[in-house]
Subunit: 389 residues, 2 copies
C-alpha cells in the first residue's frame, strides 16, 4: 500500500503560502506587477493586508495534497476501486442509480435539483450536499448523523428512497465479478475475503478524500495573493466576517463543523423550512435540537444551487438575505447581499480531474437489477435511523 | 476549426495492419515469439491464415482514428462541447437525466438493464443500444428510423418516457449560461446565434464519433496477429461465418447495416419478442416489415447484456442459441454456442478515455427543472413518430 502522492503541482500556491506571510509589502507589489493586471486592479493598501490577516484567523485554505483519512490510509488501490464503485450502478437495486447520480462530479459534486430523485422516482427529503471537500467536514449529512465518510456511504446505498439496496445484494454483485474480487484483494491485502460492505465504504471514503478543490481565488488570497480579489469581493469578505456569517461558516470549509438552529433570530417561512423536518432532533431526540442543522460548508457554493436543506432557494443573493434575517436578525441591503455573494463566488476551486472508470461486465451469477429490494419504512421519505441514511 | 487529430497511438496495430498482409509466415512466427506466450498458444497453421483471409472478406477492423462525419466535420471545439452536453442533466425536464444515463460511457456505452428507466421512472419500450462505434452504423435505433447520430440525438431529449424535454427548453437553458454561449459561438463560427437545437445535436454527433473502441483482439487478428485468438475463439469465428451468423452480422460493426425479421425461421417466444412491438413496421408501415429489426451491432457485446430489443436474455450463450433457432433454423450444441460466445468476447475493444467535463453553473435566468414538460402521447411507452425518438 503506497500512500497516494497527490499530483496537483500548485507550486505557486505553495510558494506563496510558505513565503508570503513573512514577505514585505514591496515583495507583494512586485508579485502583483508580475500578475499583469488580469484581475480588476485593487489598491494594495494596508486594509487589504489587514483583511487577509483577519481572514487567516478564521479560515484555512484547501490544501493541494489529498488529506489523510483516520483509520483508513489513502492508497492508490483503494482510490481506484472507490472510483469504480462511485460510478457503479449495480450497487443499486434498480441498476440505474450510483453515487454520482446525486453527487455529480461534473456539476459541483451535487445534483442541482431541489431534492434528489431516487429509486422509483421518489424524492429525497433533503437537498444533496456536495461531496467536494466533504472530507474536511466534522460530520456528514445535514444533521451530522454520520461521523465520517465511510459511515455516510452506508446510508444512500441502503436508503429505500435512494439506491434501495442491501449489503447482501451489493456483496452478491461485487463478489460475482472476477475483476472486483481481484481489486478488493489488492486494495485490502491480508484479508481472506476482502469483498465486504465495510471495504466498499472504505474504498468510497478514500476516493472521496481525493475530491478536493484547491486553488479557489479565496485560497489564493489567504495564501498571500493580495490582488486576486476585486474590491467588491473584498467588501463581501469583510461583511461576511463583520456581520457574523463567519461565526458559523468558518474553518477550511466555511461551515461543516458545528450545528445551529435554522432561525436563530427569526424562523424562515415553511416554504424554506418545512415544519415536518426537525433536523438534528431526529438524531439526538433533544428538544433543543429541533430545527438544528449543520452549518452548510460554503466551498463551491456558486455551483450547488438550489440552497438550504429544502432546496427551495435558487438565488445566492436571496439565500444570503434569508440567512441575514433568520440567523443574524439583520436586513442586509441589496448591495450588501451582492457583495457577500460576490465573495462567496470566490470559493469555487479547481474541480478534480476525473476519468470515467471502465467497469467490468457482469458474470453469469451476478444478480440482476431488482424492481424491489427494500420497501420504504417511512412513506413520506423522512430520514430513517441514524447511520442508515 | 482544426480537424481532430485523434491520439491513440496504436502503432503496433497500424504497423501490423500495414505490414502483415505482405509478411511471410516466418515473420509472423517471430512476432508470435516476441509476444512471449501471453495467450494460450495456438498452432500457426495454414487454417489460421486461411481463417483470417476469410474473415477479412466479411469484416473490417475498427480504425484507430476518429472517422469523418458526413456534413459535420469533427472539430475539437464541437467534440468538447458535445462531451459537456453528453453529461448535461439540464437538457432533461427533470434535471436528472442525461445521455449518459442510458448510454453509460463507464459501462460499454449502454445501461445494462432490460429497458432503460426514464422520466418519472417510466420504462423505455426497448433495450438501449450502445453508443460505442454507433458512428459506423448505417442508421440508428433498433428500427433504423434515424439516418445518422444527429437525427438520433433529437429523439431521447424529446421523448416523454426519456428526457421529456423540448427544444425550446434546451435552448432556454443553454443560452442562459454564458460559458455555453461562448462555446457554441466558438464551435460554430460565423453563425450569428449559434445556440440552436440543431447545433446541440451536431456537437453530440461529433462527440459520439470519437466513441470508438479499437484494438479488440478480433481487430488484432484481422490486422494480422494470428496468435491472438485461442483455439476456441477461432472455432467460434469459423462457426460464426459458416453457420450463417455473419450473413447479417458483418462489416465493421458485425451488424448495424441492414434489417431482418426477428424469427426468419422460427419466431421466438413472446417473452423475448413481445408481440406489441412490431419493429420497423412502425417506421415503414409495410406489412413485410413486421417484427423486422436492425441486425444488432455486435462490437463489445460482452459488455452490453441483457440482449435483444426486449432485454430479456442475460446470457450471451443463450442469446446465441436463440439466434440459431430463430434466424438459422439450427439447434446449436452447447459447445457450439460456447465457441461462438467465446469469439464474440474477442470483440471487446479499448474503451475511450473520457474525462468528466466541468459543467458551468446555472445563471439567474436559467429555467429550473420541471416536473412536467411533455406528456406521454402513448402511455404504453410504444415508440413515437420516427425522428422524434
Amino acid at each position: 500500500m503506497r500512500p497516494i502522492n497527490h499530483l496537483r503541482p500548485f507550486v505557486v500556491s505553495l510558494f506563496l503560502a510558505t513565503v508570503v506571510p513573512c514577505a514585505t509589502v514591496a515583495t507583494l507589489e512586485r508579485a502583483r506587477a508580475a500578475e499583469g493586471g488580469k484581475q480588476q486592479p485593487t489598491p494594495l493598501d494596508s486594509d487589504t493586508v489587514e483583511l487577509r490577516a483577519a481572514a487567516n484567523e478564521v479560515f484555512q485554505a484547501i490544501p493541494a495534497l489529498v488529506p489523510t483519512v483516520k483509520d483508513n490510509p489513502v492508497t492508490r488501490e483503494k482510490v481506484e476501486l472507490g472510483r469504480m464503485l462511485w460510478f457503479e450502478w449495480r450497487l443499486s437495486a434498480s441498476g440505474v442509480i450510483s453515487c454520482n447520480s446525486c453527487h455529480s462530479l461534473a456539476a459541483g459534486g451535487s445534483d442541482n435539483v431541489e431534492t434528489s430523485i431516487g429509486h422509483g422516482w421518489q424524492k429525497r427529503p433533503r437537498n444533496a450536499p456536495t461531496v467536494f471537500n466533504a472530507v474536511f467536514n466534522a460530520a456528514q449529512f445535514w444533521d451530522g448523523r454520520a461521523e465520517d465518510l465511510r459511515s455516510q456511504a452506508r446510508g444512500p446505498i441502503q436508503a429505500a428512497v435512494e439506491m434501495a439496496s442491501t449489503p447482501e445484494y451489493v456483496i452478491g454483485v461485487l463478489s460475482s465479478i472476477p475483476e472486483y474480487r481481484q481489486r478488493f484483494a489488492t486494495a485490502f491485502p491480508g484479508e481472506p475475503d476482502a469483498v465486504t460492505f465495510e471495504n466498499v465504504t472504505r474504498a468510497l471514503e478514500d476516493f472521496e478524500a481525493t475530491l478536493i478543490t484547491p486553488a479557489a481565488r479565496f485560497d489564493q488570497f489567504l495564501e498571500g495573493n493580495l490582488t486576486v480579489l476585486t474590491i467588491e469581493e473584498k467588501r463581501g469578505l469583510r461583511l461576511f466576517m463583520e456581520t457574523g456569517c463567519a461565526g458559523c461558516h468558518n474553518g477550511i470549509n466555511l461551515g461543516g463543523q458545528a450545528y445551529f438552529p435554522f432561525g436563530v433570530v427569526e424562523r424562515p417561512g415553511s416554504d424554506v423550512l418545512p415544519p415536518e423536518d426537525k433536523g438534528r432532533f431526529a438524531v439526538t431526540k433533544t428538544a433543543s435540537d429541533e430545527y438544528v442543522f449543520r452549518a452548510v460548508p460554503l466551498r463551491n457554493v456558486a455551483l450547488t444551487a438550489p440552497y438550504f436543506h429544502s432546496g427551495k432557494v435558487w438565488s445566492l443573493e436571496q439565500a444570503v438575505a434569508i440567512m441575514g434575517t433568520a440567523q443574524l436578525g439583520k436586513e442586509l441591503t441589496p448591495q450588501e447581499t451582492g457583495e457577500i455573494a460576490a465573495f462567496l463566488r470566490t470559493l469555487t476551486g479547481e474541480a478534480p480531474h476525473i476519468e470515467l472508470p471502465v467497469l467490468p461486465p457482469s458474470a453469469a451469477r451476478t444478480p440482476h437489477p431488482q424492481a424491489v429490494l427494500r420497501v420504504p419504512t417511512s412513506p413520506g421519505g423522512a430520514p430513517e435511523a441514524p447511520g442508515l441514511r
